[in-house]
Subunit: 652 residues, 3 copies
């Protein structure tokens, strides 16, 4: 698979007279894929039933004439205004009970079946009209599901859907009362139609109530996507159906939605994602113009798994954007580096957003490859360079399988949002901390679904802060022969959000003879040193009744790391230094080979080449690794935003 | 009166087969009182009129067989879901106008007369059914009135109730317009039915309007309680009616509610109360695992007065809880220390919450005496120790009368919330600061109601930041022969929230010839040194026209402390050091004997014994006091969380 | 024009028996103008149609007998409660969709035509009743338009008004779709009645949508004022119509509203305005009891222009107020200083708010010239002193024309609130920074409207952060022969909130050959040094394609200041030091004479006298300026809060 560059293009925003010149310039840059269509419904159907697909076909004709392939985005994220006249109740309702009106985007409720039927209709019409167009090479469903907090709606449609979903899940109201623990505060229901959504209560809902609502909402996103997938695959079984996901967005289960996708893609805006993250200020300052050196990579690895091995960047930041609190100019070279890093992690396509900066409407301050006056912006030249380098290096193949796997689970994100017990305790933060600690050593990592059947082939697997086991995962754990790191808090709940009868981590005694009997949670600023030098615990500490060996403990004699054979249990949250120490301990135990990377430099292997990227704001010097036979691009001296490709001996 | 341990128990949460074993274990620990029932309505009446009291009687039988006495909590804090079908408008409405739905607890509006009738019905049925049960030893009404901000509701029921209440209070609309000063912004009403609740206005309501709404809301809580009290006393005139109040909760007037209570109790969660308080960070850190060393004691003394001398801890924290932002593990020994401190202040019962940690629903992370797997948690052993020590020491009697009285007034809390004039200015903070300053010297303190008829017997009485005098209090002041400290801001308003014609502090000239003519309020971080060494003023300073003596003044020559005979007026808010200096000055003037206590150690006298508790995280050494003849428990060397009982000579 | 003191008085708040004594005391102080009436509707018309004007006429009789002139405030800011019964939908709705009820003030919606008719009715009745009263000397319309966020309402009345306004503005829905860029996210409308208000959307509205809503809302304020102006001028063409505006309030376009005003006035509360501003903490601390030394002056200069050269202080802070988070006592002398500074900037009247502190209702903690017990407060004596000094100095005339003009534009405030691109980027902050930098040198400044026809007579004109040019301004710029400073961000948008085709700053090439091609925005804490010593850039930096000379650039080689002839373009936001450096550079280029002022001292020229005021908390020593011939009041040694008047040679 030879990777390609793409771009997002909105012919409806520009005079038709300019399309030809745009297409020619795209081809000149070396772009091969053009995404179009996903916000164009008001131009495709200006009034109900008045279909205007001609201009779209002409635009695809122009692009096709220049050898460009089209990914068509279904326009369902932005229904036209007349749709609200037809379905006034299709608008979502926020958690405070307020209807969210028309006038921006994503103004629909995933639970609204009338709107789902409208989407079915327009997608079918479009599939009929352009499905056989020679330039067409794939489909994008909708756009950024859930963006702007749109997964959850507290509407009448959501309420009736939720009640039905519960009835299907539990069968009887008695079973639901039991599962949710409703006896606790006299919360028992007599009938399903008495159940309310978990918002606007006196205090918090039962956690199982809240969790089921999130499961329900996630299922609606999956069902919404399936409607389009079924039509599009029927029209063109040979073309991939893709959706563009986002960074650190976890309100629905992406693994579930991707059951009706061929390829996962995501929209990568490293500067804004760093700014809106909860990284400490010093990290935000250090990587202000480059982005977090591990965040894009983490999502690359995540979406590779979500996409069953196939993934794209559908939108790549090309310069300053508009939606951050502040919107810095990227360091020169970052638009090239980000693309190279994506390819290194296996991206098939990196598509810049957008071709030309639009001078009007909400995103007028969002850079493109062209300025609003059609002159090239810096990323235009960087994209051209990437296209040339792709040809020159001949990179192809797929991303190498990692030696380390880390389980990432959407339900665990929901669970700890519902019941943090210590403010800020999240599943994702634990996953990312371990990810970064391995990656500092140049280790290739795979992100794994919580329904992974087997861990075979990995040296080390980590399952941090996972809320509840499932049978598949229990089997994978039991059969795994490598080193396994779990905890803190992993397995501390049942699927119904109760404490397991045997207490967490709730693994068979032969695997781990341990019970978490008490949790101490404190402000993360309060740290306790860990014995033996290096790192501190904070935020979360577990008292454990165990016969396993205590490998590390803190200055107050609470356990930090237990081991029983090759299974390791982390009993606390800790500083970055402590996470690194634990990871280093596991690497040593598992005899995992590592690299010595300068600060700010990261790497990934694909197709027999190791791609180094320098996120640092200054130059860095590589130490050639033993398995490398020379450089295909760049060399040991990396400038800021530099990219180096080393050829591996094994690929010889 | 020999004090006893209790526990909160929910038989409906557990299989009936385990009740017997639970009761036996409770008796083994030394528990004598078991509170049950207060969240069980959906099990007592699963559908309207279908009364299921048998299980309750069986549970009481089991407990009684093991010598345990039952306090039955009426289940009115958690009406079942079917009740909402009967009375959809019984749900409260928040200040933003949103209905607060079913799905947690306290989902009722105090103003809703239909629900009040339902409570009357179920309480009557329960009194009939279990009122004569031999194990029954008392009643709890409802649970934690006002918890989760439920005193105030902005519902149609509240609106019509408020209008009626105003009509009864003022008689004519002219009188109301006059009292509220409605001429000010053309706010005059023509009829009572034009009056709205003071929420969702353009800017703030007239302060008298806001204050009357709070008085109204408080009266509804009292009326709600009276309904149950009347039934329960009629059924069993010999059994006490109790309610469990909370920490730093002031939305209704507890003195008023307690007019229909025999005993006041409160729910003491020292770690969470410290965490959610506005204590400075260093205090929060120092007492992270012990709680504020003066907060529990203050409430002990407050609820002793609220309860007409009789009070309990109905819920005592036994370990980490679930509802804090963070939930630390208490220092070993604190579950014992907290119980002992309560007994020292006169508690008749200290009842741990709860017997067994529930593995399901909202409070699954809240520790109990037993773990969810029924193994003993640390507090199980500490409770056992307390029970043994109670027997060994033979503590009985009641708390000694204090030598210092401090007036605490709920209306003053409301007044300064309505009109702080300086953000953060509160009545309670002034009361607690003075309380802590006396208590540092080992002085026993009583908290006094603002309707106290006489201060006779006290050496010193303090009335800080009291919004308005009443005639009873004016008389008590005039007749008092001890030292009196008032201010700042005391007497600065009339009952109708106006400035008195003679200006504050509005006392007769022969008592205090002073007028507050101007107030300076600034950010509390801006401090002005006080002359003569020690302390600074901040936040609030009053310019005063006076013929009284200025005892202390600040570096800018504003008065700090005035005196006229034995009446002292504090004209400013100040640092802890200043409050201590003022209190020390009064102690010297009044010749009040004091103790030399190590930091973190506090004490209280009951039944001829002085109970010392060490809130410090490290050991402390006592200096034996002149009036002590030896130790009944512990000794001069107190470990962290240590308890020492000294016998007093006077008790010889 | 001899300036005068005034006071705000509410006869309806006090027993009629005291009016005479009040009037006599006012005259004794030296007060000449009394504002009355603006909150008295419920006393003027207690029930619909029951007009009670007699008391008002009697009050005016009393005042007139003591030689006092009356400004009558129309009572429309506080309609009585019965008005809501007549027009329940006249209440405004907040951005969260909640009706804002009766019970405070300003409880009306500017869009409600029924209420507008009621105002027309009462104003006509009042003009008939008191228009010929001999004491009447002017009118105030309503009170503080927009106070408490009342310019914007999201009511049905606002919605239908907005749709009509849009139809009038755009004619066709196609024109609106084009102007707003609605194609962007399929936001195109088919009909005007489909358009919603820009609140409660999924994410942000199109910026042109939001801007048009603000324009609409501003137009309603202007239309509301015009209704009253037309009646009042018809009744008494000879008397001025005035409105009292506020500090840093920009929700409507004051220039537009003032098209139907004869005089602008504003309500000056320096301490509260500083406290609620976003000045840094050290400034807030330094000027805690004096107010920002440039904020009152800025508004004096602004409202002088708004008022077509005529302006008053309608409400002057006399002591501590009630509405701040904290409410400090002013430094002794400030009530005098503030008055003198206003007169220096051309005020015709400075009117203290209020005569007597009201002991009741919302503002009971707001000081007056009298205390609630009718004794003089400190400002009473300071006002007396000012009245005497006015007589003694004989100050008259008008404020001198400034040598520097700075354009201040309300639409630019709205534009950058809608699209800051860098959080906290505002037009006003840039205007005030430049204002302060010139004023530090004792330079007299005029604030200019964005519709100023000619800059003739100014040495320097600055137009910072102006969102869009208009033709008048383009002409004024093209014809200006002085030095002109524009930027950053000036001219970066079209009137329809798009990026201009030629990119910003969008001036003719012969004036400035420059295009802003990219913007870098970062947290203002991240500073980059500027080359050549002095100042740093932060927050906002522009990349520019230009043939103009780069006069100053930063350490990373981004441009800071460009020049092309006498036109200077500022390409960045910067520290105070940088703004001062740029201003100093312009002063040197333009050869503008300056003064050497001590820190904290400011000055302004009127009627041949230079008035110095010392905002410092300590004394300061003046350096006599070359154009001064001696002192009329005070001298070179200025105490804290001191005032000095120097006579100018030119006035000889
Ligand atoms: Zn998005
Ligand atoms: Zn509670
Ligand atoms: Zn105001």
């Amino acid at each position: 698979m030879t990777p390609a560059l793409g771009v997002c293009y909105y012919p409806e925003h520009w005079p038709e007279a300019g399309w030809e010149r745009d297409a020619a310039s795209m081809a000149e840059v070396g772009i091969r894929i053009v995404r179009i269509g996903e916000f164009a419904w008001s131009r495709l159907e200006p009034t109900p039933g008045d279909l205007q697909f001609d201009w779209l076909i002409r635009a695809m004709d122009v692009l096709g004439r220049h050898g460009l392939k089209v990914v068509f985005g279904t326009p369902t994220a932005t229904p036209p205004r007349w749709m609200i006249d037809k379905h006034p109740d299709m608008l979502a309702v926020d958690a405070r009970g307020q209807r969210k009106g028309f006038g921006s985007r994503r103004h629909y409720d995933f639970s609204h079946l009338g709107y789902r039927a409208e989407c079915q209709r327009i997608v079918k019409l479009l599939a009929d009209a352009i499905g056989q167009h020679p330039a067409l090479s794939g489909w994008q469903t909708d756009n950024e599901y859930g963006c702007h907090g749109t997964t959850y709606s507290y509407s009448p449609a959501a309420l009736s859907g939720f009640r039905l979903w519960l009835e299907q899940r539990y069968g009887t109201i008695e079973a639901l009362n039991e599962a949710w623990g409703n006896v606790f505060w006299s919360m028992e229901y007599n009938r399903f139609d008495q159940i309310e959504l978990p918002n606007l209560l006196v205090c918090e809902a039962a956690p199982a109530h809240d969790l089921d609502f999130r499961r329900y909402a996630s299922d609606q996103v999956a069902a919404f996507n399936k409607v389009q997938f079924d039509i599009l695959k029927q029209a063109r079984p040979d073309l991939p159906v893709i959706h563009n996901f986002m960074s650190r967005y976890t309100e629905f289960d992406h693994y579930d939605v991707a059951e009706t996708l061929d390829i996962a893609s995501w929209d990568s805006y490293p500067l804004g994602h760093l700014a809106t993250s909860n990284e400490p200020d010093e990290v935000k300052r250090l990587y202000l113009r480059q982005g977090d050196p591990d965040n894009a990579a983490f999502h690359h690895d995540l979406y590779r798994t979500v996409g069953h091995g196939r993934w794209w960047i559908m939108e790549q930041q090309p310069g300053p954007v508009n939606w951050g609190i502040f919107n810095p100019d990227p360091l020169p070279g970052m638009a090239r580096l980000w693309a190279w890093e994506a390819f290194a992690h296996g991206a098939e396509v990196v598509s810049y957003f957008r071709w030309r900066q639009a001078p009007f409407a909400q995103e007028q301050m969002h850079a493109g490859l062209l300025r609003p006056d059609s002159e090239p912006a810096p990323a235009y030249h960087e994209a051209t360079q990437v296209a040339e380098e792709l040809r020159a290096t001949g990179l192809a193949g797929i991303a190498a399988k990692g030696r380390v796997g880390i389980v990432f689970d959407y339900q665990s994100e929901w669970a700890w949002e519902i019941q943090p017990q210590a403010r800020g305790f999240t599943h994702g933060a634990h996953v990312r901390a371990i990810y970064a600690a391995f990656r500092k050593h140049g280790v290739d990592i795979d992100i794994l679904s919580p329904h992974t059947k087997s861990f075979a082939g990995y040296d080390i697997v980590a399952i941090p802060a996972l809320f509840a086991w499932n049978e598949t995962l229990r089997t994978a754990i039991a059969e795994f022969e490598g080193h396994l790191l779990i905890g803190p808090r992993s397995g501390s709940k049942t699927e119904n959000f109760s404490i397991p009868a045997a207490l967490g981590p709730d693994l068979p005694q032969n695997l781990l003879a341990a019970k978490v009997i008490r949790v101490d949670s404190v402000d993360p600023q309060l740290e306790v040193e860990v014995k033996g030098g290096g790192g501190s615990v904070h935020h979360w500490r577990e008292r454990i009744e165990t016969t396993a060996e205590v490998v590390i403990e803190d200055a107050e004699n609470w356990p930090v790391l237990l081991s029983q054979g090759k299974l390791f249990y982390l009993a606390a949250s800790g500083s970055k230094a402590l996470v690194q120490r634990v990871v280093d301990y596991l690497i040593a135990e598992a005899d995992l080979p590592t690299l010595a990377l300068p600060a700010g430099v990261r790497c990934r292997v694909r197709d027999g080449m190791r791609v180094y990227v320098n996120y640092g704001a200054g130059p860095a010097t590589l130490t050639p690794a033993a398995d490398e036979t020379g450089y295909v691009l760049g060399g040991v001296d990396m400038p800021a935003a530099g990219v180096t490709l080393a050829r591996l001996a094994t690929a010889g």
